[in-house]
């Protein structure tokens, strides 16, 4: 199954059902897992953030994570937008990441293997839940993050999630780094396409995501003297001074049922003994 999110797409377009789900529905029917319609519960959200490594004035990978929770035994509504505001003065432009770009058609056709090596900006994973009858089934997907051609003067990214089981899933989510107000330096805006479940059941719900933007696990290539050299990009430059109260992050989550949740977190200022962990 492939789902591609589009920032300009209407909700109705985003709800378009993929024909490939027929196979999943047939499997569910065969297994006697036809869904029983159930009310969806109000969800709560929790945000996490970290720098790795964490040294003021040093280079780092930024780690974003979030969890969406519903009351026990219930499925949260599907997530449609995540806006994560990050602190001022993070040297993302100075990171040496995203020297090349990848496009949505290339990702759809060939996965990240088809993208230029120097377009990769990070990775991560997500856990999604879907209902089959009375059962809630979870699926873990690996995420690759690639730089995409800028959109409206903003750095654009593509998040490409691949989950092999129980349903073979590929989800392409566009994202942008846009200016933010107040104490924040910018906002990572991720649009998540709706992923249909079996007929009559709620859309697949993302319940956990952890992504990194930075050089951790990323290798770039450059040509020098007729040879191709592999290197690790520099990484996001942290400021020399920690802001009062630590590095503040905030997120707003929008769900398909129209509800919103917000969450905040902070990376505390390092103590001298604690430098190196974030």
């Amino acid at each position: 199954m492939r789902r591609v999110g589009c920032p300009a797409a209407s909700r109705s377009r985003r709800r378009h059902r993929a024909a490939a789900w027929t196979a999943a529905v047939a499997s569910a029917l065969a297994a006697g897992l036809w869904p029983a319609p159930q009310a969806q519960a109000a969800q709560s959200a929790r945000l996490g953030a970290a720098f790795s490594p964490y040294r003021l004035g040093g280079r780092a990978t930024i780690v974003f994570s979030f969890e969406i929770a519903a009351p026990a035994g219930q499925l949260p509504a599907a997530l449609t937008d995540v806006d994560i505001e990050y602190p001022q003065n993070l040297g993302i432009v100075l990171s040496g990441l995203g020297l090349d770009v990848c496009s949505a058609p290339i990702l759809e056709a060939n996965g990240t293997g088809g993208c230029p090596t120097n377009s990769v900006m990070g990775g991560g994973w997500a856990v999604a839940e879907m209902r089959f009858g009375a059962q809630i089934v979870s699926e873990r997907a690996r995420i690759s993050i690639a730089r995409a051609p800028d959109e409206g003067g903003h750095i654009a990214l593509l998040l490409y999630a691949v989950g092999p089981s129980p349903v073979d899933t590929q989800i392409l989510s566009p994202a942008q780094l846009v200016p933010a107000e107040g104490p924040f330096g910018g906002q990572l805006n991720i649009q998540l396409p709706l992923v249909p479940s079996v007929p009559g059941a709620p859309d697949v719900a993302i319940v956990q995501m952890k992504t990194t933007i930075g050089p951790q696990g990323v290798l770039y290539e450059e040509r020098a003297g007729g040879r191709t050299l592999t290197y690790t990009p520099k990484g996001i430059l942290l400021p020399n001074v920690c802001p009062k109260g630590g590095f503040q992050f905030a997120a707003q989550f929008e769900f398909v049922d129209g509800t919103k949740q917000s969450a905040r977190t902070a990376v505390p200022c390092p103590t001298r003994r604690r430098q190196g962990t974030g």
Partner: protein, 149 residues
């Protein structure tokens, strides 16, 4: 780089003459508008987070040494100072980055807010264009606009 250096009477001076003259001759003599077009090549000095300190040389209408403090966030914002033989000019600007790859281009505007020496009353605005080398952080900045002093 084409240079256009034209001294023209400010509107205020014209008005002053038309209304019988309210301004001193020194003020009239000092009031100038400069159509300025400059290019600066700046090199990286230091950085903290997204804040860069860059220094280099400006050539064109107002040649001199230039210092820029630049915040390379989701938008580029910063302040600058050009030290010329006749005085310094300072101000601030903002620009939107475009494109991707080893070079990030940007465009925006700058505002001149003051100066010293001959440019002590400097005011003006200009278009701001440039490229940022994402490997060595070198900046090339082009400006085109009007400066009154």
């Amino acid at each position: 780089m084409s240079l256009t250096h034209s001294r023209a009477a400010l509107r205020a001076v014209v008005a002053a003459v038309a209304f019988g003259g309210c301004c001193s001759s020194a003020a009239i003599a000092d009031a100038s508008v400069l159509k300025a077009s400059d290019t600066a090549h700046l090199r990286y000095v230091s950085a903290s987070g997204a804040l860069l300190l860059e220094k280099g040389t400006a050539t064109g209408t107002l040649p001199g040494s230039m210092t820029v403090h630049l915040d390379v966030g989701a938008t580029f914002t910063g302040s600058f100072a050009i030290v010329t033989k006749s005085g310094s000019i300072y101000g601030h600007g903002t620009a939107t980055p475009h494109g991707s790859g080893a070079y990030e281009s940007f465009s925006g505007s700058l505002t001149v807010t003051g100066g010293t020496g001959r440019y002590r009353t400097a005011r003006g605005s200009a278009g701001l264009y440039g490229t940022f080398n994402r490997s060595n952080y070198a900046l090339v900045i082009q400006t085109r606009g009007n400066l009154s002093y």
